[in-house]
């Protein structure tokens, strides 16, 4: 076979940023399929179009997800990539690896696939990019023997992911890594066997900086927070100021609730914690002087998603504070999560995310179904329209209250 020239992709080997073309050529040295892939991508660059078809149903025994079928639309011309399936491998929490784990992943993928990976996909999985149907089961067998399992795909629980949390961050308000590992293991069935109206994503961030972008894309977004006071080391504050930090313009002016004041004489700050909304700005600017509080937990937000279908939603608060108790196996979270799934599974249309279902049915119905108390932390402001529902139980409660009042009044008279 004559070596094909690839002038367009060659242009992308130039420049200082690491080149994906160079990475593909490294694989192509031992894997003919990747050489074919390069030729196919060169053709896409010439024609400005994709040459992949929709995924078909492929998989491994016992699972309904984890493998995404991928077929080339020009199989006769590019037979080595006629099938080029993706395998999603569930990453360790926080994407921590040791060299042994990396090498064992590489060895499996050298044996069974293209040698190309994504480290990592947007959801969090290690992506093994490109293999054929006959290799899938063997690849999974070897992955499993090496201690790896597959991630989610299709209408199931997608692979949960977490920020580095307490492993390397002083902002972590709970053990993100442990929670991620725990949730992933508890819901293996939901992760591997699509049984729901659509996908459900859980992303776990240890503080309001939200390093997993959970609020923008997770159906359930778990974001660390605290409910007491920011811990202040005044000596370190003075050191920042002496070191040239313009505390007014860099810290005080950016505080969204203007709850920090600065005593110039003493070089001390005073935080009105009652009015602090825990945005992290001051802590991020002065990490040596300020620390998150001690009474730590998380805020739960629900409904985040990208645009398709109705619109993009940012997740919204459904529980302002949850303690996330490791000792009792995060039971409070699981109880709530299972109620949410049950209501969604009962009520959603095909391909309707939880946020869209709540938009269609109303938060009122959602709160009732999940026994969550309505609290002002759930909204930016109360409704500005006069259209709202009354239910029989509202009148029953009114009646009960009235009667209780009467009884009290009656007892007063008899005395």
């Amino acid at each position: 076979m004559t070596e094909k020239k690839r002038p367009l992709l060659d242009e992308l080997k130039k420049g200082k940023w690491p080149s994906f073309v160079t990475e593909m050529e490294k694989s192509a040295a031992t894997k003919p399929a990747v050489n074919t892939l390069l030729n196919l991508v060169e053709r896409s660059f010439e024609e400005k179009r994709v040459h992949w078809k929709h995924g078909g149903i492929v998989g491994v025994r016992g699972y309904g997800g984890g493998v995404i079928g991928r077929y080339c639309d020009l199989p006769e011309e590019y037979p080595e990539v006629a099938e080029f399936h993706t395998i999603r491998v569930n990453q360790p929490s926080g994407w921590f690896y040791d060299s042994k784990a990396i090498r064992s992943l590489c060895d499996v993928w050298e044996k069974h696939g293209s040698g190309l990976t994504n480290m990592h996909g947007a959801t969090g999985d290690a992506i093994l990019l490109g293999t054929t149907t006959p290799h899938l089961q063997d690849c999974f067998n070897d992955l499993s023997d090496a201690g790896f399992d597959l991630g989610g795909s299709g209408s199931n629980l997608r692979t949960p992911s977490a920020c580095c949390g307490p492993a390397r961050c002083e902002y972590a308000c709970f053990d993100t890594l442990d929670l991620c590992h725990h949730v992933t293991n508890k819901y293996q069935n939901e992760l591997h066997r699509p049984m729901w109206p659509y996908k459900f994503k859980i992303k776990i961030s240890g503080c309001p900086n939200d390093c997993t972008s959970s609020i923008a894309r997770a159906d359930l977004s778990i974001i660390g927070t605290w409910r007491d006071r920011i811990r202040v080391n005044q000596k370190a504050v003075a050191e920042y100021v002496d070191g040239g930090l313009p505390i007014k313009s860099a810290v005080l002016d950016y505080c969204p609730t203007k709850c920090i004041s600065f005593d110039k004489e003493k070089k001390e700050i005073n935080i009105d914690n009652e009015n602090c909304t825990r945005c992290m700005h001051c802590i991020s600017v002065m990490p040596k002087a300020l620390r998150v509080g001690k009474e730590k937990g998380a805020t739960l937000l629900l409904g985040g998603k990208a645009t398709i279908v109705q619109s993009a939603f940012l997740g919204w608060v459904i529980k302002p504070f949850i303690k996330l108790d490791k000792e009792d196996g995060y039971q409070e979270l699981h109880d709530l999560l299972e109620k949410i799934w049950e209501w969604w599974d009962e009520n959603a249309k095909v391909r309707e995310r939880i946020g869209e279902l709540i938009y269609r049915k109303g938060m009122g119905e959602f709160l009732k179904a999940t026994d969550l108390e309505p609290v002002p932390q759930m909204v930016h402001h109360p409704r500005a329209n006069p259209y709202f529902f009354w239910y029989p139980e509202d009148f029953a409660a009114e009646k009960e209250a009235k009667e209780a009042k009467k009884e009290v009044a009656g007892s007063e008279v008899s005395e």
Binding site: L12, D175, H181
Partner: protein, 361 residues
């Protein structure tokens, strides 16, 4: 040939705890503070006084096993075998011995792996599969990202921007990776309605699902052909129908391209999370190096660098000056495309007489 062996299922991911370096195990949950050593290098200090150094390198996300094995070798040489990846495709080498940091940085840089992306820098671009591996891409992902990162390389290496800068890329409106809350997001878009292949729809697609997949109600059943029709006046080219039915191809090489949105963020700092908003409705696909896209993004970055106050993310800068002023500063045309006419448009209309004039010359 049937395989006699089937793997054990539902074993779950490897336990992260076994992957952690000793210094992390010793200081787990007890970190005191961190500081920047230099761009790309962080130092975390524990309550015990222990130090942990992180050296961050940018990667193109698409990595060969040859490179991964080399990363493993580097981790063995400097970090007792420990490394991690970030949610934005960086690789982080973790080590307790600060005296090894410079040699590690030198070896990574010499091999072409850029150390940077911490603090007030350009973060690594998150992106999608594009033409390498996706059926619905309206543009390429790796190619556009490579071209943009080559051009903005210095901003990744230094950390003297007004604030952090997160640029994200998605090759279609599915927006894998939630790019819609980024300082700058560029997104592959279609501009023509899908072509209906009646035979394919009739034989391969579930019509109620196809009808329900349309956000604008543009799709109606066509009982005669056992297919569907698409109302040209209602279709907004999202491609969701193509996702559920392969016989509604929306790809159009001459008319597909890229739209740019700015001013979004996910973190709750200061004002909180925001969507990115449309500023450039269309840039044509120009492989291999997407010159117009690269120039457009550089301009968007440079006006922010020039005009933002220290500490202001992209959207915070725009909020301070006002969107009308932004279009003037950016010298970008404001068109009908910029005014929302989708589901939640009304709250985006200006219901006040407070605005700035930008038409006086």
């Amino acid at each position: 040939m049937a395989n006699p062996y089937y793997a054990k299922t539902d074993i779950g991911p490897p336990n992260f705890w076994n992957m952690l370096p000793q210094v992390i195990k010793d200081n787990y949950g007890n970190w005191l503070y961190h500081e920047k050593v230099k761009p790309g290098v962080l130092k975390h200090v524990g309550e015990t006084g222990d130090e942990l150094y992180t050296v961050r390198v940018g990667s193109p996300r698409l990595l060969s096993i040859e490179t991964l094995r080399w990363f493993a070798d580097i981790a063995d040489k400097y970090c007792d075998g420990h490394l991690r990846f970030t949610s934005r495709h960086n690789v982080e080498f973790l080590l307790a011995d600060g005296t090894k940091v410079d040699a590690l940085v030198d070896e990574l840089e010499a091999a072409g792996w850029p150390v940077g992306g911490t603090g007030r820098s350009l973060k690594n671009l998150i992106h999608t599969q594009g033409w390498i591996h996706c059926h619905s891409a309206a543009t390429d992902a790796s190619g556009t990202v490579k071209a943009v990162m080559d051009d903005l390389y210095d901003y990744f290496k230094k950390d003297d921007l007004p604030a952090k800068l997160k640029i994200s890329m998605a090759c279609c409106l599915n927006m894998c990776g939630a790019v819609h809350c980024s300082d700058i997001a560029f997104v592959g878009v279609h501009r023509k309605i899908p072509k209906v292949d009646d035979y394919g729809v009739a034989n391969g697609c579930e019509i109620p699902n196809v009808v329900a997949s349309c956000p604008t109600g543009a799709i109606r059943p066509n009982p005669k052909a056992k297919s569907v029709t698409i109302n040209e006046e209602k279709c907004m080219y999202c491609g969701n129908c193509y996702s559920v039915c392969p016989s509604l191809s929306i790809m159009d090489p001459e008319n597909d391209g890229i739209a740019i949105f700015v001013g979004g963020k996910v973190s709750n700092t200061r004002k909180g999370p925001e969507f990115s908003k449309l500023v450039i409705p269309f840039i044509p696909n120009e492989p291999p190096r997407w010159d117009s896209l690269v120039v457009a993004i550089r301009n968007l970055v440079e006006i922010w660098v020039k005009n933002a106050k220290q500490g202001e993310r992209y959207g915070e800068w725009i909020e301070r000056i006002g969107w009308e002023k932004f279009f003037e500063v950016a010298n970008l045309p404001f068109t009908d495309k910029h005014i929302d006419d989708f589901t939640f448009s009304v709250p985006t209309f200006r219901s006040t007489t407070q605005f700035k004039f930008t038409d006086k010359k």
